[in-house]
Subunit: 248 residues, 4 copies
């Protein structure tokens, strides 16, 4: 940046604004280059597919509680972003790590995707862990996965990481006793890995995707709603010791 | 700070640790001087009286939701602190401002506390506002106010701001149709004003008071509890437009 | 939201993903309807024009300091979002409020834009305040304003709020002794007002615009940089009292 | 909590306020019981020893940058709390984990403290890691460690974890080529372990200890200072690609 000029990755920002979409420029910031038309299309899908998931989402709850407290908009949104942790959006990062390490391993060992998937699941289950990016408490078939794979196919972006993810999905029944569907986190993980993103940027997609929704929730809570409903004192079960007197 | 030495308001921190309490040193940081024994005693009471208020508190809810998401302890606590806004703890600041401006006004105008209280309430009600620091949704007699005033009396700290606050309380029925009790926020506001604190530090007392409790809630949530219960999808009432098709 | 289906403002999210851009769907969340092609174009420009402003930005500094501390990505981004306050991005909100109230006033009073601008500036200067959205410490001609107005013109979106903003700009020299340029905050404020957005959503544009950049800064700081440079102890000027002994 | 009554760990909060210090009640919240007089004394020392460390601290920098942006007090403090991560205060948690696992290991294996220290350091260095809680960039002898150990000795609280920590310190030269002093983080870790605290509460001590200082910094920044100094545009080294034109 210098007076009257803002350079982003070598481009004058003003040469980009109005020509490239928000998703294109996000791609530029994170990858260092502008996307190809196919990458541009899938980028937009990746950043919109997690746009909203109603109140049934802890980042929205955190945002709504903070928004109820008489704070400016950004404080409520900030609290929601802070909630995008390992168990809420974080599966993208974890799944992308597993897939990227799996593909690196396949290059060394010449395993097939199915063999590699087997190895990954054996490893995960031997540590009695769950496999991030697979299974969903509400959806039996994640509509977001289906849509993303359609678009990735049209954009000719189905690569080795998606293939490995699908191999894992098909083996989940064998390892866990029930089929765990490739959920939206796992699907984003596979696609961004095929696009060359570092797994450590996994949460970034979820953060950007959810931010406009967090803003909409905060705005509604601040200007159109009663304070967000906390547990009421007669609903709370006190689990501490019985009433007692302090010494002396 | 220099190598092997940390100076706080002129004192070597190591000369203070073990001799002065946490509340004393908080007072030193905020006032610039160590407290007298009476100020020391009331300071401890001010910083403990809001220690805990169960789950029925939006800062605790925000902390618990973020703590459910797979984040480190400080992230959950940070979200709870962000919730200490104008409508949650913020009444201390607002009430202290009104009381400090009232006392300044009394010096200029030679009004009595009762006359000044009347003027304040006339002003507030003419703007159709509420009077911060008075009234409570759950408590009919705020036990924290009673205890604080006892201690302030013992410590010979009942000054003009407390007197003005009590004058306001006794006139609430006349102005609002029902008695609004001096609640803990209003009482803290009056006492810290008598101690010489700037009203803009009002929230500071609530923040410090609640932080150990936010930590205890975050810790319990992270290591002993199931994810904090969000609204479930079948409980949420969708209020948007009916289902429709996008154009084209 | 229900199993296998996510409804956003009446639309099935899966019917939107891949067809509408991130900016379109952000518009849908904030306005309740999908944008027209012209609104779609300007929306993308509004959300990209503040994408990046280098390290010379307090939200980036906050993000980098937190990112230096061994925290997950979202914590660093969350701190940056919390910094988007009244003096950093907040001018959009304040300027939009002034412009929207000005236009409402013009409808009542039949003032011309120039007369209304004069009234606004007289009012602001009589309170010895600054006029939000005008002036810039680094840029003498804000390149972002120029570009946004170009695009707004192409999209046939230059309405009464932009006209009023330009009337204010042309009068700044008279009221402040030097010309204060319509900066990017003021320009966004005028355009979103012409698009029908509530001024209380002003910061929302800056938050979404800056989030991908905050992520890029956090990622670089976490994985490619030494800890972000704080003031060193020999640079800090201690302004407290001289060294002293505690009583007793 | 019920109307007119607040129960904390079995005690009526009003029976505690004015009798027990802030540190005592923090102990009650975190341990479930009131402290003995010796635990009470050391608790106060533990919560004050990290009170302040000047601007040379990333949590203070984060607080000051956010405080510069026109936000309420709690937002700035919240950002500082979010910065108390693995590399800023987090060493308490990590060191306490190592010490608590070491003591558990000694019970099983009947190793002496010196043998256990040797085993720990061999393990750490074989993974090419550093040993948390030892070494300091500024202090050659951490004055806070000296003071804490004095108080712990007076309070008859020097137990097996402190002994193990000192055994580690005496072996650091052998393993790292230079003596790494037991710093304040390591010392707090050892003492809280001797007091029976779970290592996962390690950061809690640092958070409570720093909060009054973060508040004092935020308050000073908001009401007495110019905006906190960011890197200026002519100081920033742009490391991106040279200026270029977008395609087409």
């Amino acid at each position: 940046m210098e007076p009257n000029k803002i350079l982003v990755r070598g481009y004058n920002l003003m040469d980009l604004v109005g020509k490239y979409s928000y998703s294109d420029l996000t791609y530029l910031l994170w990858q260092g280059e502008l996307p190809s038309p196919n990458h541009s299309r899938i980028m937009d899908a990746l950043l919109t597919v997690c746009l909203e998931h109603s109140l049934n989402s802890p980042s929205v709850d955190a945002t709504r509680f903070v928004a109820s407290c008489g704070v400016p908009l950004q404080s409520a949104v900030s609290a929601g972003v802070a909630a995008i942790g390992d168990w809420h959006g974080g599966a993208i990062e974890q799944a992308a790590k597993i897939l990227q390490e799996g593909i690196a391993d396949m290059k060394d060992t010449r395993l097939s995707p199915k063999e590699c998937a087997e190895k990954i699941l054996r490893d995960v289950t031997s540590r009695k862990e769950r496999i991030p990016g697979f299974g969903h408490p509400t959806h039996t078939k994640d509509p977001r996965t289906i849509r993303l794979l359609e678009i990735a196919k049209e954009a000719q972006l189905l690569g080795s990481h998606v293939e490995l993810a699908q191999a894992i999905e098909s083996l989940t029944e064998k390892f866990f006793g029930k089929r765990l569907i490739l959920n939206v986190d796992g699907c984003i993980a596979a696609i961004i890995s095929d696009m060359g993103f570092d797994w450590r940027l996994g949460k970034a997609f979820f953060i950007v995707s959810r931010t406009p929704g967090l803003i909409a929730h905060a705005y509604e809570q601040m200007y159109s709603e009663k304070p967000y409903k906390s547990a009421q004192w007669d609903e709370i079960v006190y689990t501490g010791p019985p009433e007692r007197q302090p010494p002396k």
